[in-house]
Symmetry: C2
Subunit: 155 residues, 2 copies
DNA sequence: TGCCAACATTGGTGTCACCAACAAAGGGAG
DNA sequence: CTCCCTTTGTTGGTGACACCAATGTTGGCA
């Protein structure tokens, strides 16, 4: 369930550190997410959701492209797609013009599941952001985008 | 090294989600952290740093208290302290008045290591926050504190 | 005295991220 | 047409972090 128990008291040296605060917040978010998925998500996890989202938005795609688009390693894509295929949420067909490649597409059932997961995520999100005002939520998104842009170009 | 490769393109459904953005940012931070520790940290990890910080701030403590203060599970505390003790950064002595309990204290060498790790962390932090203005950094901390306060009282 | 709680430890589980190696398939240079 | 290089999917393993269950020891309390 990933409860992530809060520390009783927090050392000054950590308390002041933005990266520490960020990690704590992310831990809380992922805890809520895991709880929500465990309750209403048929045992699906973050990887599964990400893959379904990408497939619904961009349509059938090869596994390698899927991995690049979602930032998930090829090997993890293979494993997660295996789960999704076993549940009938996704189909794999060999690319006729490229027999080494497999084209993955989302099924009707997959789309329906995705819509259900979206609702779960909306609820979790709302719970997570509850302490923030509308203005603070905007600041939050703005700052996160800046930090993530840095990531895309950095290193 | 935990490079955490950035996705090429990001689904709208994810891109808009604060929790997704948060997760991405946290992944970047932890990636930078891991890289810094790998390079200048004698193979120490987050758990070790947290424990050293708590010990330096609050002095000798039992392992159970240490776990509660840092939010680390008792079993993980035991393992991490084993590493620290092997490196001579920490000492475990039996509590005279409570023979089942072990009092952990940081050594001279431990304090020196901690100071070195602090520098590493400062650098990483600066790199991570580089894209933010001073005002945005304040907003960031404020928002994170709100989210974490919620965590302390929530659920 | 007997029971219960706390402590340290061992040994698991699960999630996410990542890496190495491999065979199958295709593409390009010579 | 070969040889080489790359891409693709797959298998299997690693590491960090968070968490749980069970066990033996110890102390406090009723």
């Amino acid at each position: 369930m990933r409860e992530h128990v809060a520390p009783h008291r927090i050392p000054d040296r950590l308390k002041e550190r933005p990266t520490w605060l960020l990690g704590q917040a992310a831990a809380r978010a992922s805890s809520l997410l895991a709880a929500g998925f465990a309750e209403h998500g048929d045992g699906l996890r973050g990887y599964h959701y990400r893959l379904l989202v990408a497939l619904e938005q961009w349509g059938p795609e090869s596994q390698a492209d899927l991995g690049r688009d979602t930032g998930i390693d090829r090997s993890d894509v293979t494993a997660a797609l295996g789960d999704l295929e076993a549940l009938g949420l996704v189909e794999r067909t060999v690319d006729p013009g490229h027999r080494r490649r497999k084209i993955v597409s989302i099924t009707e059932s997959g789309s329906a599941t995705l819509r259900r997961l979206d609702v779960v995520l909306d609820d979790v999100q709302e719970e997570f952001l509850a302490p923030l005002s509308a203005a603070q939520r905007e600041q939050f998104v703005e700052i996160m985008l800046l930090l993530n842009d840095q990531r895309a170009t950095g290193s």
